[in-house]
């Protein structure tokens, strides 16, 4: 049995867990191809107009899997932690996808941990029973999937990018050294599905590296640090993803070795418009170099390149001034 997983949205958070779970149950996991112009064009054609860019892209990834798999794994992610929500567009996602024609069956379970009494394990059991009647096998698959996820997170906390961490998990690391010295460090704060998708981010992290800047993201920061930093806001945030970004931004802005912060938002993202503003105000109060980038459908890369270049010039200039050159 083949289970398809779209390479988009929460893939960047949970893929190692999902894959291990399905593989332990004897299924074959098929990933959609990396984003290309065609993926985005398909998404734009089939998605409703008012959703944000990454959700449109998700449509393209789902369509890429059509005809190749028996199931598409598409959980309805309502809440992944106590008293916090995932963005409302994720809530409606399975319903929007279901409207598409020619798709295989969807594994569309609800994941809602907003109240403690809802048990994640019931959900796991429901998904697992599609593949086996053996409860013990499901339990074991669940245990090892959690272990893989923890390993993945540990690799990220060491400073690897998701693609690099996945390569380590798969034992596919080449001879190339992973880290080489950079002249400056820059924090890039944004949703993983925007910054790590090199198509819609126009290879943002790669470009920064080419320009001599090491990239630090929210995924490199342990959950505990993120939480304690986000708690510095006068009021608790109830968006899980927003909390991660705010926590990471505040953490990096405190670190003297980080020379600047780039905030990446997708056009049409509601929560980003607010978290971006909160981060910008904080950065400005600290007089830290800050750049706001908005990703959209356009393919012209000049706009992104110009802004990144100017940003790094500003960071270098400021560093040189501080050093008294």
């Amino acid at each position: 049995m083949k289970v398809g997983i779209p390479r988009a949205l929460l893939y960047y958070y949970y893929y190692p867990m999902w894959r291990t779970f399905f593989e332990e149950l004897g299924a074959e996991v098929v990933l959609s191809s990396p984003s290309t112009r065609v993926t985005l064009a398909q998404g734009l054609k089939h998605a409703v107009d008012e959703v944000c860019l990454p959700v449109k892209l998700f449509f393209g990834h789902v369509l890429d899997l059509a005809g190749k798999v028996d199931y598409i794994f598409l959980p309805r992610m309502v809440s992944v932690e106590h008293h916090k929500y995932i963005c409302p567009k994720f809530l409606g996602l399975p319903d929007m996808i279901r409207r598409l024609e020619g798709l295989p069956d969807l594994i569309g379970v609800d994941v809602n941990l907003y109240r403690k009494d809802r048990d994640l394990y019931t959900v796991i059991n429901n998904v697992g029973s599609l593949f086996t009647g053996n409860k013990l096998k499901i339990f074991r698959a669940y245990r090892s999937s959690i272990k893989t996820l923890q390993k993945y997170y540990r690799l990220l906390h060491l400073g690897l990018m998701p693609a690099e961490a996945l390569a380590v998990l798969d034992n596919k690391v080449g001879d190339k050294p992973l880290n080489y010295p950079f002249e400056l460090n820059v924090a890039v704060i944004g949703h993983p599905y925007n910054i790590y998708d090199s198509y819609i981010s126009m290879n943002l992290t790669g470009r920064l590296k080419e320009m001599g800047a090491a990239v630090f993201t929210a995924e490199h920061v342990p959950e505990k640090t993120l939480r304690s930093n986000a708690a510095r806001l006068p009021k608790k945030l109830f968006w899980s993803l927003g909390q991660r970004m705010i926590g990471a931004a505040f953490h990096y802005l405190d670190r003297p070795d980080i020379s600047g912060l780039v905030h990446v938002a997708a056009f049409g993202c509601g929560p980003d418009s607010m978290t971006g503003e909160l981060i910008e105000r904080h950065a400005r109060a600290l007089r830290a170099p800050f750049l706001n980038l908005t990703l959209d459908e356009h393919t012209g890369e000049a706009g992104i390149v110009t802004r990144l270049e100017a940003f790094l010039d500003m960071v270098r200039w400021k560093k040189a001034e501080a050093a008294g050159i």
Binding site: Y199, R287, F290, V305, D313, K318
Partner: protein, 325 residues
């Protein structure tokens, strides 16, 4: 005479300046790009060469603007810099102590905040080009007045009308409505200037600390109506420097001076490139589903640069690093 060449190839205008070694602008040329960057640069070089005395030595060349990569290859530039850095460098030379730069060009607008001679913050318009030069151009054409007289007429206004500046299309409908109601032309033009300034300050200048001295530059600074609207909105004096329309080119020349001081030799090919035969073309690569649009530049029949491919298959083939992607 020895000096440095700066070229700024923007969406609307192409500017060339020649700085002497002391950083004084000796010649400045402002041309309309008219969608033909190569021909315009060649025309500008020819004109500049004619204006300069015989035996002049170009010690370095710098390029900036959205056409900088193309032009850099064309003339053999020593620096290829983004517009923000170029504008900041030029302003610092011509208006010592500047703390705020307002720049409005043909299709983009930016604000640059400087403190103690260092860029500390900047912003560019994101997904909207309302209120930039192209819009003023278009409205002047629609009202059948030469763009050069736009500002003068606006200054005659007695009570500027209120126009929505958020969107160029809606601003136009608003203007037409006011015309049909019988408002005078000066009042409408002044109202438009105020609307554009309002939009700029809310959009690009959002949350920025605007302190005097304030410099207003870029092609739109030719419009005295805009300068006056800025003064009214900011309640600060606004300086329009003498070379407001070629500031990017001045900055590029200054950066070239810096680069050549470091490297010792210039890569400038000489004014003879004005007579070389350049051919550009683009093709869609069919190597992968990205279908990148690859641009190719050939000089006298041999390919000197390619860019636009995400993977580097074509651009690296030429052995040049000057590519957009």
């Amino acid at each position: 005479m020895k000096g440095y060449l700066g070229i700024d190839v923007g969406s609307v205008s192409t500017n060339l300046v020649f700085l002497n070694e002391g950083g004084i602008v000796r010649e400045a040329i402002y041309l309309r790009t008219q969608g033909q960057p190569i021909a315009t640069v060649q025309k500008g070089l020819k004109e500049l060469n004619g204006r300069l005395p015989d035996g002049v030595k170009v010690r370095g060349a710098g390029v900036t603007g959205s056409g900088r990569h193309l032009t850099g290859v064309l003339v053999g530039a020593d620096t290829v810099k983004n517009e923000i850095t170029a504008h900041a460098v030029a302003s610092l030379l011509l208006v010592p102590g500047v703390q705020t730069i307002l720049e409005i060009g043909g299709q983009d607008s930016k604000i640059i905040i400087l403190r103690n001679g260092v860029v500390t913050d900047f912003a560019m318009n994101t997904v909207c080009a309302a209120g930039t030069g192209s819009f003023l151009d278009q409205q002047a054409a629609r009202l059948n007045i030469p763009i050069e007289q736009f500002g003068e007429i606006a200054l005659q206004a007695e009570s500027p009308v209120r126009i929505a500046g958020r969107c160029a299309v809606f601003a136009e409908s608003d203007m037409i409505h006011k015309q049909q109601m019988g408002c005078g032309l000066p009042d409408i033009l002044a109202g438009l200037c105020e609307a554009l300034v309002r939009n700029y300050l809310n959009n690009v200048g959002k949350g920025k600390e605007i302190l005097a001295p304030v410099v207003f530059q870029g092609g739109v600074a030719a419009n005295v109506g805009m300068a006056k609207a800025f003064e009214k909105a900011l309640e600060l004096p606004v300086t329009v420097p003498a070379h407001f329309d070629v500031m990017g080119a001045v900055g590029a020349a200054l950066l070239a001076r810096e680069a050549v001081a470091r490297t010792g030799v210039s890569r400038f090919k000489g004014f003879s490139v004005a007579d070389s035969l350049f051919k550009t073309g683009s093709f869609e690569c069919s190597g992968c589903p990205n279908m990148c649009e690859v641009v190719e530049v050939a000089e006298q029949g041999s390919v000197i640069a390619r860019w636009g491919d995400r993977c580097g298959k074509w651009s690296e083939d030429v052995g040049k690093k000057e590519k957009i992607s």
